[in-house]
């Protein structure tokens, strides 16, 4: 009660302040806990819009006032929030409480009744004005024929409106059914039909039902008729439109035609065009390509070649038949027939393929007999007697026979004839034949290389193309064959401490570098070959002249590879160093202080095999040769310098060589070369730094992506969380509701108490009045009695 009173006082005060617009919130009253997060979905606080409080708070909270919102944040303002709650209750609960015993409610609709600003006179005036207005409105409607509100016009518009657009709307609606319209109007409009019938028929009651049915029918007829009419009209319209359209099209076409024809007509009439323009036009319309004979496919070419061979062979045979046969002509064919019994051929077949190129011993005898055999048959070979059709040899021995006493050129002719007669595109089986032929041929060449190394060079020179072609044809099998040879050679090289290079090895290594050119990098055979060549360079026996030259040849093969692949090959440098060091040792010996200038810097290939110009040279390396070898070594080094310029150890590597070469120089030419080499080395020297670990690239930023659960089952977890949330909400709202109810009860009880107090006060007042009346009555009565008593006395 007390608080309520005080508040009412404060309210009154605040009302007064509000009117003066000087209200500020009392900072001591502010009781705030700082909100750390904005929680979405939560209302900012309780708001109220009771006029007085709003005004007051608007002034205090300038931010909100600026926005002009009526919702007020009461959070933290204790008295304000309580006030808000009380005001809200007064508006709602108190009303309910006051009307709790009432069944109805009067709603006052009188004009201006709720407006407090109006005076009684104003209210009366207003009401009178309204009354008058109402009355005039009714009167005017009664007599106005062309009222704005009249909606008898077509399509719900007023007639005035309809009149305005009459011309535009449906210009030809009424032209055909004028008569019908008239008839229709006269009979049916304004209840015409019905009236007529009613007038015509006297016995109205009896035919009442009939008439109604009739009218219904008639209306249906009318509807059907109008529908039919509309349909017809639409049809006509469509037809007209189609016709115009077709006409339009025709017109356009005709117009285009006339235009085109006129243009051409004009062109014809024009003076002749200049030749340049003509040419351009001709170019424009010239056909781009002409039909021609197509290129022959590989298979067709091969077939042609084969046919040509067959034809030539036939001719050759015919010649022989004609009587031109002499001994030499027949020899070619005889030669093809196997001259040996099968057994002999069979037994060597396999081992020959395996090892023959290197281990010659067991076959040497056979070869000798073969060549002797062949010698007996033909003393002189004639290039013209080579048969055109030659079957691919099925045995190694046949090949020997075939090539016996043939010059390298003839061998080449034989090989190319065999190859073109057995071209792969003619039959796939030929691949097999050519593969065996490849093996035999390579084997033959390698054997020959060892027995007659110098002559073999011509053979190799002539047959390299064919061999490579055969190598390509034989595909995997040829590669395996080459690989096997390489393995055999590897074994021979690696298992000796000093390896003496044989001519066949030289030829074979060169052939392998042709099969697998250095430019095609990364082939396993290349890796193996590089290792093998390196091993040869390390292990090579340098005791004789030819072996030194052989090693030098291998070194130049390696240098070739190095130039192409740019790979570091320590073995090559080891070899060159060894060679130069040997040379230095020789040069240092007293008896060879000076030497003549070099005759030539390059070596002939024949020298490799220990013979030059037909005669076998001495076995030891002469002083002259030593200088040439050193020269060649330096030449190889010079080639390598630019390739190895990028190496981190370039300075150490070539610095060593530079010093060595300076020591080696003896003759005039060498000195110049040493100087040149020194300059070359200095030229390629690049600055370098101490070694450092390569810096790791900075770790890439971790990009945290949301982990999206693709198989997420929303229903389960959503249900769970929803139930949880609902339970929580329920608990909270239950609490809130309880609290509100408590407050409501408290509010109601204060109201009741106030009422009771007021009642009591009234009653007390009345009681007091009554008592005072009674007292005065009593006193008067007593006074009267006293007077009576006095008077009696």
């Amino acid at each position: 009660m007390k608080t309520e009173k005080r508040r009412s006082v404060s309210d009154a005060k605040s009302k007064r302040f509000g009117s003066t617009a000087q209200v500020r919130t009392n900072p001591f009253e502010l009781y705030l806990t700082k909100a750390k997060h904005n929680i979405t979905g939560r209302t900012a606080g309780k708001s109220f819009d009771s006029g007085n409080s709003t005004v007051k708070l608007k002034k205090g909270n300038k931010k909100q006032g600026a926005k002009g919102q009526t919702a007020i944040q009461t959070h933290g303002l204790r008295s304000v929030s309580r006030n808000v709650a009380v005001t809200n209750r007064k508006k709602t609960l108190l009303n309910e409480y006051n009307s709790r015993t009432k069944n109805n409610r009067l709603i006052d609709h009188r004009l201006g009744e709720k407006d407090t600003t109006m005076s009684v006179e104003d209210k009366m005036m207003e009401r009178m004005m309204f009354e008058r207005k109402q009355s005039t409105k009714v009167k005017r409607r009664q007599f106005n024929l062309n009222d704005d509100d009249d909606e008898d016009g077509s399509f719900g518009r007023t007639m005035a409106e309809a009149e305005r657009f009459e011309d535009q709307e449906m210009p030809e609606t009424d032209d055909t059914d004028d008569i019908l319209e008239e008839q229709f109007v006269s009979t049916h409009h304004f209840g015409g039909g019905l009236l007529k019938k009613v007038i015509n028929d006297d016995n109205r009651d009896a035919q009442q039902n009939d008439v109604r049915a009739d009218r219904k029918l008639q209306i249906e007829d009318i509807i059907a008729e109008s529908k039919q009419k509309k349909y017809n009209k639409q049809n006509e319209l469509d037809e007209v439109r189609d016709l115009t359209k077709s006409l339009d099209d025709k017109w356009k076409e005709a117009r285009v035609r006339s235009l085109v024809s006129s243009a051409f007509g004009e062109a014809v009439n024009d003076p002749p065009v200049e030749s340049y323009d003509n040419l351009v036009k001709m170019l424009q319309f010239d056909s781009k390509a002409k039909a021609s004979d197509r290129l022959k496919s590989e298979a067709e070419l091969a077939k042609d070649a084969r046919d040509a061979l067959e034809l030539a062979d036939k001719k050759r045979k015919m010649n022989r038949m004609d009587g031109n046969q002499d001994a030499t002509a027949s020899r070619g064919l005889e030669m093809l027939e196997p001259a040996f019994d099968e057994q002999e051929g069979d037994e060597d077949d396999d081992d020959e393929v395996e090892l023959q190129d290197i281990d010659l011993a067991d076959l040497q005898d056979d070869l000798v007999t073969v060549s002797k055999d062949a010698d007996k048959k033909e003393k002189t070979a004639d290039p013209s007697d080579i048969p055109f059709v030659i079957p691919a040899p099925a045995k190694r021995r046949e090949l020997d026979v075939l090539f016996a006493n043939r010059t390298p050129k003839e061998v080449h002719t034989i090989v190319s004839r065999i190859m073109s007669y057995h071209h792969v595109s003619l039959a796939e089986a030929n691949r097999e034949k050519l593969t065996t032929f490849y093996k035999f041929l390579l084997d033959f060449l390698l054997t020959k290389s060892d027995s007659e190394p110098v002559e073999a060079l011509h053979l190799w020179n002539n047959l390299t193309f064919s061999l490579l072609e055969l190598f390509d044809i034989s595909q995997v099998k040829g590669a395996t064959f080459t690989k096997e040879r390489l393995q055999v050679l590897t074994r021979l090289v690696c298992r000796k401490t000093k390896y003496r290079i044989v001519p066949s090895a030289i030829y074979f290594l060169r052939f392998v570098t042709l099969c697998y050119p250095w430019s095609k990098e990364g082939h396993p055979v290349q890796e193996a070959l590089m290792l093998l060549l390196g091993k040869i360079l390390v292990n090579v026996d340098m005791s004789s002249r030819s072996s030194v030259l052989n090693a030098l040849f291998v070194a130049s093969l390696v240098t070739d590879g190095v130039l192409v692949t740019k790979k570091y090959c320590p073995e090559l440098l080891f070899f060159l160093r060894k060679t130069l060091a040997n040379r230095e040792r020789q040069a240092a010996s007293p008896d060879q202080s000076t030497s003549p200038a070099l005759v030539s810097n390059s070596f002939s290939f024949q020298e490799l095999f220990g013979c030059e110009g037909g005669e076998v040279k001495d076995k030891t390396l002469s002083r002259d040769d030593g200088q040439r070898v050193a020269h060649a070594g330096i030449a190889l080094l010079e080639k390598v310098v630019s390739v190895y310029a990028e190496l981190p150890a370039y300075t150490e590597l070539f610095g060593d060589f530079d010093e060595l070469i300076k020591k080696v120089k003896t003759g005039g030419a060498s000195a110049a070369q040493a100087e040149a080499f020194g300059r070359l080395v200095a030229l390629h020297r690049q600055p370098r730094k101490y070694l450092q670990f390569s810096k790791k690239p900075p770790a890439p930023l971790q990009l945290l992506e949301p982990r999206i659960d693709t198989k997420f089952d929303r229903s389960k977890s959503a249900k769970k969380t929803q139930v949880k949330r609902l339970l929580h909400d329920k608990k909270r709202s239950m609490k809130g509701a309880k609290r509100e109810l408590r407050r409501d009860n408290h509010f109601i009880s204060t109201v009741q108490l106030n009422e009771q107090l007021k009642k009591d006060a009234v009653r007390n007042k009345k009681v007091k009045e009554i008592f005072s009346n009674l007292y005065s009555q009593e006193s008067e009565h007593k006074r009267l009695q006293r007077l009576k008593a006095k008077s009696k006395i």
């Binding site: 072609e469 570091y568 080891f574």
Partner: protein
Amino acid sequence: MGDKKEPVTEESVLLELPVPYDGPVIPLLRALRSFIQKRETFIEQDEDYQMRILAFIHSVQVGAGKKSRSKGKKRSRLDTDGEDIEDEGAEGNTDGEIRTNLSHVVAEFLRLKFTRRVYVKTLLHLHDRILPKVNKPLMLADFLVSSFRMGGLISLLSLNGLFVLMQKHHLDFPQFYEHFYSLLTVNVLHAKYRARFFHLADTFMGSSHIPLYTVAAVAKRLSRLSLYAPAESLPLLLTFTMNLVLRHPGLLALLNRTTEDEDIAHDPYLIEESDMQKCRALDSSLWELKSHQSHHNPEVVKIAMMLSSELPTIEFDITEYLETSTEEMIEQCLAKPFPEAEKRLKRSDMASFLSRTPVLNELWTA
């Protein structure tokens, strides 16, 4: 035995006796000793006799051989072939007797002048077939040290025996590492006994008490040698040197010198300097090893590539690379699957036998 007393037939008897001698051992040893003393010059001339005597010495089985074997913790796995010799002959005699007698024979034998082949053979098996069997192993020290000073292959082989003496019998050998350093030449990499050498070197350099400059000098020297090393030795060389760096983190400067960033024209390392303290290996860098990153063999490149980044924490197992041979490497290469052969385009695409390459054209004429 009686036959041996006769000087005429003594030699022939010696040659005829079965080598794992099945009779009593001690008389044989005594006879051998007297024979060597008496016929010194004769034996020195004939290699067969030297080999024969050596074979006898090798074949003698001391009863406590097992004991000595268990004492020797590290046995080179290269020398396991002498193990299956039966020790029946030693049954009747005491160990001590055999040992003393054998020691006498060995002492006499080592005083002889051998041919090189016998010398090598003696040294090869000194550490496992002679050293454990003699009475006072230190008596071999003189022989070993003198061979060690001979240089070349002989000193390389004497390393093994010396090492055993130093490790187990407290042989004091000053300047051992200096000598070892001088042994590091190109020949080591090409030698037949490369595996043995590196196996021993691994044990020598395994100690953590070696001064840093010694290790640095060895590493730098090996790296310099690698410039001319055959491909087969490179995996071993690279891993060995990297192991050195791993064991002695002070060497990391050779691979990763972050303090100086200037260009350096000349390597501060002096290869001619025999004093390891003065050769300035620690001021250098292992450029030579890094050069192998462009080696022609991919296996070598793979190992060399590890030099450029942080080294692994675990040492490399060099036994894996000890006996790599070129033959194996080639076999490995050829075992790889061949890529699909490309077709040569035209005839002109193929070179003739002696043409098309600049080097061949210049140096060789047909």
